[in-house]
């Protein structure tokens, strides 16, 4: 292990002191510093929440990443180098996300950043990442703006978003249930974007939105909304309610026994949020990107690897959050190997347009990374509560799987403006 390698920090120090004026007067350096030794570990910064609203999902996300990294390290690392991680809690707070990203990049010299659940935090991190050119994987934020208005050249989005799930659900539900729809929308950006996508689809397929009830973020009591729904008598209710509000909604709909009538369309249900809850909390039809009981080759072994690595954890089987964290990390490290370097632009080019086979993904359809929006186009599953099973872990009954092309978020490409390669600083760690 040589000590004479020039590190990113080392160069900053010398430019700081010797060329101090240059850093004050001159522009930020585009081409930064270069690791030479190939026996230096590759450091990955993990930016997931360990406190606040998404602490539970953040933990699951992290476990997925850790399992992927452990698998690579067992095989001798990436490009012969060991992969190390540093995790800092982003506290579900964007200002903390910015600080964490700055620290991981400038002080800890991480080559890549992985992890997100909250879109606000993901945006804060990706702005910092774009500034330095650090590749950032948004593993679990399902906001449509992540691959639309707020896309970045360095950011890749691994989750399905509200528009994808709406597209998967709407047509089937109009055909199966009826045309009179009511929207129950959480009054914030994610809720509005998801509801807007649903509205457009319903109207395109001949349905009618009879009313939209807005509930403020932070609502714990849905009784007024549920009474209004009963009074309005829709055939279908499309709920775009997230976070802690969704947890309260679940409890209250279950108590009222309103889960069956009217028909409910929920958006994506994250496995860490529902695991262990009574089945009547899982009402209506909802979406997911993966399920541990999918009848596909490789799934059972994957679940066993999870259980072997995490025997003590509360969740006995993994879900979509773990899966997204794992897949994102695995594909990133594979891309680095294929590129033969950690140079960020080379890795980005490997990921753009990447095709991943269904077998590889343990999903029903092939997936690919859209080069224009950097979102993974993947199979979208619709599910409902699995009332017939005696296994308390087997909570979902998969109803259908949609191929990525049919559920594509049409608005994203138009809204997304990726920075050019030239405008993205390059580095190699």
């Amino acid at each position: 292990m040589t000590k004479s390698t020039i590190s990113r920090r080392g160069l900053l120090k010398s430019t700081g002191a010797a060329a101090g004026l240059a850093t004050v007067f001159g522009p930020w350096q585009h081409n930064r510093v270069y690791a030479a030794a190939t026996d230096k570990p590759i450091k990955i910064g993990i930016t997931s929440d360990a406190s606040g609203q998404y602490a539970n999902s953040g933990a699951s996300d992290r476990r997925g990443m850790a399992m992927a990294i452990a698998e690579f390290n067992e095989r001798g690392g990436v490009l012969g180098r060991n992969v190390e991680t540093i995790h800092l809690d982003t506290e579900t707070t964007p200002a903390t996300g910015s600080r964490v990203a700055e620290r991981l990049i400038s002080r800890e010299e991480c080559a890549f950043l992985i992890g997100a659940v909250s879109s606000g935090v993901a945006n804060a991190i990706s702005q910092v990442a774009q500034k330095y050119g650090t590749v950032y994987l948004n593993t679990n934020s399902s906001s449509p703006t992540e691959s639309g208005k707020n896309c970045h050249r360095v950011k890749f989005v691994w989750d399905g978003n509200g528009a994808n799930f709406a597209k998967a659900a709407v047509k089937n539900t109009i055909d199966a249930v009826g045309k009179k729809w009511l929207l129950l929308t959480n009054d914030y950006v994610w809720g509005h974007n998801t509801a807007a996508a649903t509205r457009k689809l319903v109207e395109a397929f001949g349905g009618e939105i009879i009313d939209e009830i807005l509930v403020p973020q932070g609502t714990r009591d849905f009784s007024s909304a549920l009474l209004s729904i009963q009074q309005a008598k829709p055939q279908v209710v499309a709920a775009a309610v997230g976070g802690d509000d969704q947890k309260a909604l679940r409890q209250q709909v279950a108590q009222l026994g309103m889960g069956d009538s009217p028909a409910w369309i929920n958006n994506q249900q994250d496995w860490p949020d529902v695991y262990g809850l009574p089945l009547d909390n899982l009402f209506g039809v909802f979406g997911t990107t993966w399920y541990y009981q999918l009848d596909l080759p490789g799934v059972a072994e994957f679940v066993q690897r999870y259980q072997a690595m995490y025997p003590e954890t509360r969740m006995k089987v993994p879900g979509n959050v773990f899966y997204n964290g794992y897949m994102a990390t695995r594909e990133l490290l594979s891309a680095v190997e294929r590129a033969g370097t950690t140079n960020n632009i080379a890795v980005i080019k490997q990921l753009e347009g990447l095709r991943m086979s269904a077998a590889d993904r343990m999903q029903h359809h092939d997936a690919w990374i859209d080069p224009n929006t950097h979102q993974v186009q993947q199979s979208i599953y619709l599910a409902t509560a699995n009332t017939g099973s005696s296994d308390s872990d087997d909570m979902f009954k998969i109803l259908s799987s949609s191929d990525p092309e049919s559920v594509k978020d049409e608005g994203a490409a138009a809204a997304c403006n990726l920075e050019s390669y030239a405008d993205t600083p390059t580095y190699e760690m």
């Binding site: 920090r9 900053l12 120090k13 700081g16 002191a17 850093t23 004050v24 007067f25 001159g26 522009p27 930020w28 360990a50 406190s51 800092l88 809690d89 707070t93 964007p94 200002a95 910015s98 600080r99 700055e102 620290r103 400038s106 002080r107 909250s118 879109s119 606000g120 945006n123 804060a124 702005q127 500034k131 906001s143 703006t145 208005k149 707020n150 009054d187 914030y188 950006v189 994610w190 509005h192 403020p216 973020q217 932070g218």
Partner: protein, 341 residues
């Protein structure tokens, strides 16, 4: 326990004190020692900005005795105002900062006009209520503010002084800019708190009725302190929008507003001008260092806070003052070296 009146201000009439020079020396050279001690430039930037915020906050909290638990709203208003100015009017550093100061002062004027008639618990609760209204509005009016996604892509315009222009894109360059702003605010606040105006505020804090009987229009002074405090907090918010290059609703939440209260108290804002400075530095450094070691750092910080309130509510600055006093038992009340002026 001791209060602001007890801690002597030996050099009260001067513009620059030895403590200020020492402070300037430490903070001014930060880019050179931050790295070697294991910290990083962005942290320095954030600490400086929050010191500005806390010093402005303490004018209201410590000096005027008005306990505002919703001050995050003005920090946030300043950040959003800066960003919206860059997006919708013109990309300009001075314009943006001016907008931040004006917007937060205006918000302070409106809220202050309502709350400054009250005292104690009613004052605190009304500030919380308004803080919640601002927070709620920033999420709801997402067409304007970007909602929980945040107001993004806020540029860092260069500092253009006419003859010479400094590019602020690097954290180091930006640090020197906010450091200059910090020293300006420190000197200005030092003058204000040691002026007749500042002394009247302290009199109001100690006994509002007596101040009124002596002939002061108490409500006007409280309002002036409120607006000044919100303007400074908004200025800090504008700087923060540049640091983060975004503005998010979270800073207006009750949790974040309570954090500034905690930082100011722990540092000793109730007894010393420099209290807020110590409190902010302690919080950020502790958080960064402890946060890397454990995920339950908030538990330890909360425990430390509880213990401090129990045994030393005068905070760090108060503890230093008492320790210094004990070390110099024979000195009179004109301290030269008291570290907490």
């Amino acid at each position: 326990m001791i209060s602001l009146a007890d801690v002597p201000r030996g050099r009260a009439s001067s513009w620059i004190t030895p403590q200020m020079l020492a402070f300037a020396a430490i903070m001014g050279t930060a880019p050179f020692w931050l790295g070697p001690v294991g910290l990083y430039q962005y942290l320095g930037v954030e600490v400086v900005i929050w010191i500005i915020y806390a010093v402005g906050f303490n004018l209201l909290f410590g000096y005027s005795g008005l306990h505002s638990f919703g001050h995050g709203a003005y920090f946030g208003v300043g950040a959003y105002a800066f960003g919206l100015f860059q997006h919708n009017v013109v990309v300009s550093l001075w314009g943006g900062l001016g907008a931040a100061i004006l917007a937060s002062a205006l918000a302070g004027l409106i809220v202050g006009a309502i709350v400054c008639h009250r005292r104690g618990i009613y004052f605190a609760l009304m500030t919380i209520a308004f803080g919640q209204i601002f927070w709620f509005s920033s999420i709801k009016l997402h067409g304007l503010t970007g909602g929980e996604d945040g107001l993004l892509n806020i540029p860092r315009p260069p500092a253009d002084f006419g003859l010479v222009s400094f590019d602020l894109s690097s954290n180091t360059a930006f640090y020197w800019f906010v450091f200059a702003a910090l020293m300006l605010v420190i000197v200005m606040m030092w003058r204000i708190t040691n002026s007749p105006f500042g002394r009247i505020l302290q009199a109001i804090r100690q006994n509002e009725m007596r101040a009124r009987f002596v002939g002061y229009e108490v409500w006007r002074f409280k309002l002036a302190a409120f607006v000044l405090s919100t303007a400074i907090s908004g200025f800090a918010g504008g700087l923060f929008a540049m640091a983060q290059q975004g503005a998010f609703p979270d800073v207006m939440s009750l949790h974040q507003s309570a954090l500034i209260v905690m930082m100011t108290l722990i540092g000793g804002g109730l007894v010393s001008f420099w209290g807020p400075v110590l409190g902010v530095a302690l919080y950020f450094v502790a958080r960064d260092v402890l946060g890397a070691m454990t995920e339950t750092w908030l538990l330890w910080y909360g425990l430390m806070f509880v213990v401090m309130v129990m045994i030393r509510p005068e905070g760090l600055a108060g503890a230093i003052h008492l320790a210094v006093k004990r070390l110099r038992p024979a000195s009179n009340s004109a301290p030269q070296g008291a570290a907490e002026e």
